[in-house]
């Protein structure tokens, strides 16, 4: 088995996980719950081994480096952190119905990584600028933040769906949505995920700045990627303050979570493929 086979399998296991979580939600098949969690954990384990193998393979071909250095590898890691963060939430808060709105993001990331033709999936040597331990710290911390923001968005979507059906008061839908946690619990989890993400995004931006300083002597140069990460950071800072000091909650916070996530996507994807700048490694 090599890493590409394992990572290929991962795409399908996450698809299957997504389907299982959707079945649990739609058909209220609570009994499937434990099996689904076990299956998803095994899928995460397979992916972990896949990432580990890819790391090892890079050493075998003499260009050893952590598998976090191009668009393909970062998408794979993104999917990994989404599942890891989601399973953590599920374990901590014992809520399985939100899986249907979180796990599919990991599947989409893997599917995009596997099937896109925009970037290479090869293990490629590191250009000199990327040979730094700060790079690993930077990528890992940013993606933990992104994963938390992704799950926050899943939660925000649940909130908005449940909220709108509650206000329409249609009975059969509300029975389906009744399996979801209460609005206040979803709202609280959304907020907690964003707080967690904000901390990691902050550390991500800081490690990026320290890395830039060690490579070029400038910790901040307003290149588009840096600037967009700061814009994202501002959006979440606004969200935290609006909630904490002005008592915003519910729908407004849910929309801000989605807005923040769009900004994350643009920082991560849009800047590489739509704008150009120093951080062009994603396009190679």
């Amino acid at each position: 088995m090599d890493s590409s086979q394992l990572l290929g399998i991962t795409t399908f296991t996450y698809l299957f996980s997504s389907i299982l979580y959707a079945v649990i939600f739609i058909f209220r098949a609570k009994s499937l719950g434990p099996a689904t969690t076990v299956f998803t954990s095994i899928a995460l384990l397979i992916q972990t081994i896949g990432i580990g193998l890819r790391w090892q393979e890079s050493y075998q071909i003499g260009i050893g480096h952590a598998p976090l250095t191009n668009m393909y590898e970062s998408l794979v890691f993104f999917a990994w952190t989404i599942i890891a963060f989601y399973l953590f939430l599920e374990w901590k808060y014992k809520i399985r119905t939100i899986g249907a709105f979180a796990v599919p993001f990991a599947f989409l990331a893997m599917a995009y990584a596997s099937f896109s033709t925009e970037f290479s999936k090869e293990i490629s040597p590191l250009i000199p600028a990327l040979q730094s331990n700060w790079l690993i710290a930077h990528v890992v911390t940013c993606f933990i933040g992104y994963a938390a923001f992704t799950v926050a968005t899943g939660l925000a979507i649940i909130y908005l769906i449940k909220n709108s059906s509650a206000s329409r008061n249609s009975t059969d839908e509300s029975t389906l949505l009744a399996t979801l946690p209460s609005l206040s619990v979803i709202d609280d989890l959304t907020h907690k995920s964003m707080v967690f993400g904000f901390l990691w995004l902050t550390v991500g931006i800081i490690t990026g700045a320290v890395w830039a300083n060690s490579a070029w002597g400038t910790y901040w140069s307003w290149d588009p990627k840096e600037t967009w990460s700061l814009i994202t950071w501002f959006i979440y800072a606004i969200t935290l303050h609006a909630r904490y000091t002005r008592g915003w909650g519910g729908k407004r916070i849910a929309w801000l979570a989605i807005l923040g996530f769009l900004s994350v996507l643009f920082t991560y994807y849009g800047v590489n493929f739509i704008l150009s700048g120093l951080h062009s490694y994603g396009s190679s």
Partner: protein, 437 residues
């Protein structure tokens, strides 16, 4: 409200913070879409004369240094300062409060509380409760209060300073950036191998800045991967003061050299069509180094030795193999192939030479002097510490009041937490269950 009060209130408001952050986020987008720091002509060509004029008026070509963007950052700073001055004293008062002076009435009204009667008398109850709290990590004090005893215990009161640390860290980062802007510079220099410089040229104005010492490039080399991609750019640098070597270091991208607050970063290079050739006579230990253009002879003065490069193989811009021609007192000449950068010992008509040749390069160094960077890093560290405190720690307080009434010992336990109340409620009931036993 008088004038100065309303100005103060304006700067103290969180609404202003939300508006400022919103505008910072929105306007920051501009510079990611419109290329920055291009020449005026580029904007005219891309956007037309009228739009380009408008851009100049609003400093769009360098928007992150424009008056209005810096103004927004100044507004954010003023907001942070005033807001902190406004709120910190109250937070500090809570941190330092004498919680044993809390009125009994407030304890009776707290949302989180439990009441029971104890089988023991007041002082024995106090002793057992205090001991149980202690073993659970709640160190406590007590005092006579309202015809009873009041016990108090708290955790992490200082966590209330977390948000202030975060806010101040932002100001510290700004201060660091200003220090760097005022007392530092960024520049570059192209330094050919074997040569040295005492000055560099700033990015912004291309003005020469004296370093106060001398930097020499002894060697530049490129290491390649098997597939031909660059693996490492490497410069051997020597720092000299008064012609004496004070520091030597091989720098690569991500590992610069710093001397007297000035840092030299590997950033680019330039190949020449010349060669650095070294010929050493192993017996006399005499070393001759020369920079030679292609097919040009070096004639060593007061000696019969002469040498030159008569052939070279290249791959793209870089030389891979070099053919050295050499003639000495023997009167016989010889040709020797070397790979680029190789050193080789050869026997030439009875004399042993160590020969070496490589294509000549200039190393492109980026130079930064930024005395503010440590201040910025202090700000970074404080920001992370402050966020951890603000997000994951909470100030939790516990009071237990014990009094005698109609021959019974009544106990009231109340608690509060400033954050994460759900988790504290669980801790509170678990603790209450335990102390009641």
């Amino acid at each position: 409200m008088n004038q100065s009060n309303s100005v103060w209130a304006f700067f103290a408001s969180v609404k202003l913070a939300l508006v400022t952050l919103f505008f910072l986020a929105i306007t920051s987008i501009i510079g990611t879409v419109i290329p920055q720091k291009e020449t005026a002509q580029v904007y005219i060509d891309t956007y037309g004369q009228n739009t380009a004029n408008l851009f100049q008026i609003f400093s769009i070509p360098d928007m992150y240094n424009s008056w209005w963007f810096l103004g927004l950052l100044a507004l954010l700073s003023a907001n942070l300062i005033v807001c902190s001055i406004e709120r910190f004293p109250a937070a500090w008062a809570i941190i330092k409060a004498d919680n044993l002076a809390t009125p009994l009435k407030r304890l009776q009204q707290m949302r989180l509380r439990r009441e029971w009667t104890s089988a023991l008398n007041v002082s024995d109850t106090e002793a057992t409760l205090a001991a149980t709290l202690n073993t659970n990590g709640w160190k406590n004090q007590s005092r006579q209060k309202d015809s009873g005893r009041l016990l108090f215990s708290q955790k992490a009161p200082m966590s209330r300073t977390g948000v202030y640390i975060v806010h101040i860290s932002i100001l510290i980062i700004f201060v660091g950036a200003i220090i760097g802007e005022m007392f530092g510079y960024k520049g570059s220099v192209m330094l050919p191998e074997t040569q040295s410089t005492e000055q560099i040229y700033t990015f912004r104005t291309n003005e020469a800045i004296p370093l106060g010492f001398e930097v020499r490039c002894d060697l530049f080399e490129i290491e390649l991967y098997d597939n031909g991609m660059a693996k490492a750019y490497r410069s051997e640098l020597t720092v000299l003061e008064n012609n004496e070597i004070v520091r030597q270091k091989t720098i690569v991208v991500n590992d610069p050299l710093t001397y007297k607050g000035v840092t030299f970063y590997q950033s680019s290079y330039q190949p020449y069509q010349s060669f650095v050739v070294t010929v050493s006579d192993m017996t006399s230990a005499k070393k001759i180094q020369a920079i030679l253009p292609y097919q040009q002879q070096h004639v060593e003065p007061n000696s019969d030795l002469r040498f030159g490069i008569i052939n070279a193989k290249t791959a793209g811009q870089s030389v891979t193999d070099i053919k050295l021609w050499l003639k000495d007192q023997s009167g016989v000449s010889g040709n020797y192939w070397l790979s680029d950068g190789e050193q080789k010992i050869i026997e030439h008509e009875g004399t042993t030479y160590l020969i070496a040749a490589k294509q000549m390069y200039a190393t492109g160094l980026q130079i930064a002097k930024d005395p503010g960077v440590w201040t910025v890093y202090v700000g970074f560290t404080l920001m992370i510490i402050g966020l951890l405190m603000a997000f994951f720690m909470s100030h939790r307080r516990l009071w237990i009041h014990i009094r005698e009434e109609d021959g019974k010992t009544l106990v009231l336990m109340s608690g509060s937490a400033n954050k994460n109340r759900g988790a504290f409620e669980k801790t509170f009931s678990a603790l209450a269950d335990q102390v009641q036993k």
